[in-house]
Amino acid sequence: METMIELQGLSRRFGTVTALTDIDLTIQKGELFGIVGPDGAGKSTLLRLIAAVLDPSAGTAHIHGFESVREAEQVKHHIGYMPQRFGLYPDLTVAENLDFAAQLFGVKGAQRTERLHRLYEFTNLERFKSRPAGLLSGGMKKKLGLACAMIHHPAILLLDEPTTGVDPVARRNFWDLLSGLHAEGITTVVSTPYMDEAERCNRVAFLFKGRVLACDTPEHIKEKVPGKVVVLETSDNRRAHQLLEDGILILDIQTYGEQLNLVMQSDTPHVLDAIRQRLDGITIHRLEPAPIRMEEAFIYLVNQAEREVLA
């Protein structure tokens, strides 16, 4: 295996705000690596550090073997970076934006023709060739961003929230593209606030308040949750939460809108009956075991981290 990205003790402060604290990560060639975390977790900061468009306050980052501060310009030959904000020119057409990207990376001649052809095919953007980029739909913009980031066949793709603000169909579509790239062996690092997208990565780093809470395959991360998830819906969730809080059998309680997810040591009928008894006087609409998803795993890890801080 070849290491493509290696981060050691990476930190970044902005004045008094600490955006990232002591990040250690190693990403191998060919991985589809997800950086998952809520708003403000530090995802963009991390990707910017990897893209060498931001310097760390402490620690080092090696990208394709190059150090991100001293050898920032070499790093840029090997990465394709797509910022969270649309970074292309809205007044230039799709074709002009792609041309510009090709010129910047010195892609010309037959190679250029061939790559443009493939990218158009891959993204389905050919129809919109002469449309100003500013007039594309959200999903199309992201696809154009991806195409521009890939024009020089980078070894590493860095995509910052490529599916935020994109409709569900386009989101699925975009992830299909990423899976295709993964199959081709391109190393891709993608950030996302969506837990369901994390399932599609082959490895995931959970980022929370600038720290990596866990970094593993989705399966292993879900296994970190020690127990089972039971879904509970009642007439008075707040009261139910209070009543169950100090139960020995319950490891964690997570609120999802109208529903409570109980992380339990066990979900046998016997245990469920015990819960029913505890909730005497509250109408129970639903109480049943459910499979653990990334979402539960993430919230479990966050709650655990917060408990540690409190302890």
Partner: protein, 387 residues
């Protein structure tokens, strides 16, 4: 890569109406507005009258002068000696001396008034002069009636009160080449905005992640504005030549070289502004302070450079507009040869190179701390001192 940036920037200019207007008809439009307000908007200019005749004819003339919307008779003086003081205090811009024999028309002579003009107020003084001339001329023709042959008429005489610097009355002809230095600041202002705009729109972050060299990026942005700037130069020359009757007497090639160097130097300053300013708003404020106000006050267009404090003079030497106005004026109006202007050529070249180097040096391809600042002073705290 530089070519790619230049091409892209050219497209931006063509497609953004604001920028396009700013770098194409902007300088022409501004020139028209400026010369218009400078030459025609004189109202009720203060005038001193020295009436040596004290008769019906002189009283009638004074009434007519006062009646003109452009003139207001501010003071009546006993002799012309006091005018200099009044000029210095700025109380009047011109004085009219009515000779003792005014109104006594003989067969051989029609007495005429004399106008004294404040040389430091060329614009309003010129308007006043024209007005006095017309009124006095018309009045004396009326006094003479049909009895006289018109060839006996002499126009009113005018003298310029020499003070400070203007030995001849300044006019459009004198200030037009100087004003060009100011109008040609517009492309530089547009360039100042362009990098700040990319920063604001997030396109700069994308560019920073590419291997583009800093110098290629900055120079690439500069070229299209330089192209438009040169078009502006020739358009302004044409406007001066054919609309304002300011004849171009020098060598066009020499002038082009000076103008090219000036545009390059001031666009280089635009790049520096562009790198430092984080937002377009900041950029525009700095750009106006750098490209508009100083050339207006400092490039010798309206105010004599020699009369300024030394510090200000020194600062002006670093402004491309100063040298452009000096050299451009000399070629434009006097047909001075380029070899006599070698100093300006050298200075403009030095400023150009310097600005390009400074902007490249301070620009950083980083999303935070986008430009290099002087390192903060090292503080020795107690702990440091102990360890």
């Amino acid at each position: 890569m530089m070519l790619a940036i230049a091409r892209k920037e050219f497209i931006h200019i063509l497609r953004d109406r604001g920028t396009f207007l700013l770098v194409t008809i902007g300088p022409l439009f501004l020139m028209v507005i400026f010369t218009y307000t400078l030459t025609t908007d004189v109202k009720e200019a203060p005038l001193a009258v020295i009436d040596l005749a004290h008769n019906d004819a002189s009283t009638a003339l004074i009434d007519r002068l006062d009646a003109s919307p452009k003139i207001h008779v501010e003071r009546h003086l006993a002799s012309a000696d006091e005018t200099d003081n009044l000029f210095k205090r700025g109380e009047v811009v011109a004085a009219v001396v009515i000779p003792a024999d005014y109104g006594q028309v003989s067969l051989t002579r029609v007495p005429q008034v004399e106008a004294i003009i404040d040389g430091t107020e060329p614009i309003s003084a010129e308007t006043v002069l024209t007005e006095v001339y017309q009124i006095a001329d018309a009045h004396s023709r009326e006094l003479a009636g049909d009895a006289l042959q018109s060839d006996l008429f002499e126009p009113p005489i005018y003298t310029t009160q020499e003070r400070l610097y203007n030995d001849a009355l300044s006019s459009k002809v004198d200030f037009y080449p100087g004003l060009m230095g100011m109008m040609l600041g517009l492309p530089a202002i547009a360039l100042s905005l362009s990098l700040a705009r990319e920063r604001e729109n997030g396109t700069l972050e994308q560019l920073m992640a590419t291997p583009i060299a800093k110098r290629a990026l900055l120079l690439g942005k500069l070229w299209p504005y330089l192209g438009f700037g040169m078009v502006d130069v020739y358009a302004l020359l044409a406007l001066g030549q054919w609309v304002y009757d300011v004849p171009f007497t020098g060598n066009l090639l020499a002038y082009s070289l000076i103008a090219f160097l000036f545009m390059f130097a001031s666009l280089g300053m635009g790049l520096v502004v562009s790198v430092i300013a984080r937002t377009q708003q900041v950029a525009v404020v700095i750009a106006i302070l750098v490209f508009f106000i100083p050339p207006f006050f400092m490039s010798g267009t309206f105010f004599p450079v020699d009369a300024m404090p030394q510090l200000v003079q020194l600062e002006m030497m670093s402004l491309p507009a100063t040298h452009f106005v000096t050299a451009g004026k000399a070629i434009y109006l006097q047909g001075t040869a380029l070899r006599e202007l070698w100093l300006q050529v050298v200075l403009l070249t030095v400023i150009s190179v310097e600005m390009l180097e400074v902007s490249t040096f301070i620009f950083r391809k980083k999303v935070v701390g986008g430009f290099r600042r002087p390192a903060p002073p090292v503080l020795t705290t107690k702990e440091n001192a102990l360890s």
